[in-house]
Symmetry: C2
Subunit: 195 residues, 2 copies
């Protein structure tokens, strides 16, 4: 296969990301959001909110991470943030998926995109911290906009949301503070219990 | 409103991009692709195929353009590439949509993202030419993968596909050449007529 054929095979395979559905509901149609449109919205959030990153960031690297961060879920499936049972074996499932899917690419590109995904997963660099913050804040926004239905369905409280997502503070403290004010408001409106 | 409140209002409004459906079918579920997942796939294409750009490009700018390029369709709707009747008034509809939607942002950010969108539309810079190429090639890929159903439904021929999309050559000649070989193969397989 030529390089371009390998790249097309990868791009074709990745279209399956539109078939991986998350828990969060889209506020207008009230259908579950899929990973492809989720990844797009995270990119838009990163572009719009970049000024609130705690540290200077290279936006191109953040966007690359966000575009590819969920591709492993084509094989490994989505793991809901509050489903601790499903988290067992998640690391191994996702590593195996990364081997197969990034493995469709030409060798040095495979290495580069795999490293970009591993950087996102490790949450150590300023870019990965900001990308992770945006990834944590987006479902909170969606849950609030859709009236908290999925939170109630899964018995999620404000305390759980904060415990699970507070590392968003390490990437974008101002945005995390704003999200907490939205959560306070959601509790006041009865969308989720405080504890 | 604070800056962050304006930014959240914009990000909330833009979730509607998931409700704008295009003509092209996703190859697995065979449902119509929406603008949000389309925009995501274009970003993945740009990352993967950047080496084939005719000219050196700033990938961050390409990705920004691709993330926002269809936002105006929230108000203006999608215009199918072969629907010449629907193209009447498209420019005015999209300008009005850009006024409203980018207008949700803080002033200088509104100006910046509007300029980014106008740059994409004008197709003059190396980044805009490459982004436009990717935007033209992606539906060809989807149509081939889904067996040409939408092409046949709309009476589209290979000649029409080439006439409508050949400016992709200005952004990425090698990728356009590869797309033409895929079109030859599609004609040979009976997915669309040559003329």
């Amino acid at each position: 296969m030529t390089r371009i054929q390998q790249q097309y095979a990868f791009l074709t395979e990745c279209l399956k990301l539109s078939e991986i559905f998350r828990q969060a509901l889209l506020p207008n149609s009230r259908r579950r959001e899929n990973d492809a449109e989720h990844s797009w919205h995270l990119c838009l959030m990163a572009i719009t909110l970049a000024e609130h990153s705690n540290q200077p960031i290279d936006l191109a690297r953040v966007l690359k991470m966000l575009v590819i961060h969920d591709i492993v879920e084509i094989d490994a499936g989505d793991t809901y943030a509050y489903d601790t049972a499903r988290m067992v074996g998640q690391y191994e499932r996702e590593q195996k998926a990364a081997d197969r899917i990034f493995g469709l690419l030409p060798a040095e590109q495979r290495t580069e995109l795999r490293a970009c995904w591993e950087e996102f997963e490790a949450k150590q660099t300023p870019e990965a911290k900001f990308a992770a913050a945006v990834d944590r804040l987006q479902p909170i926004l969606l849950n609030i906009l859709s009236g908290g239905e999925k939170w109630r369905e899964h018995g999620v409280t404000r305390k759980m949301v904060v415990a699970r997502n507070q590392h968003a503070r390490e990437g974008a403290a101002e945005v995390w503070a704003y999200a907490q004010s939205l959560l306070d408001d959601a509790v006041a409106r009865g969308l989720l219990p405080a504890e």
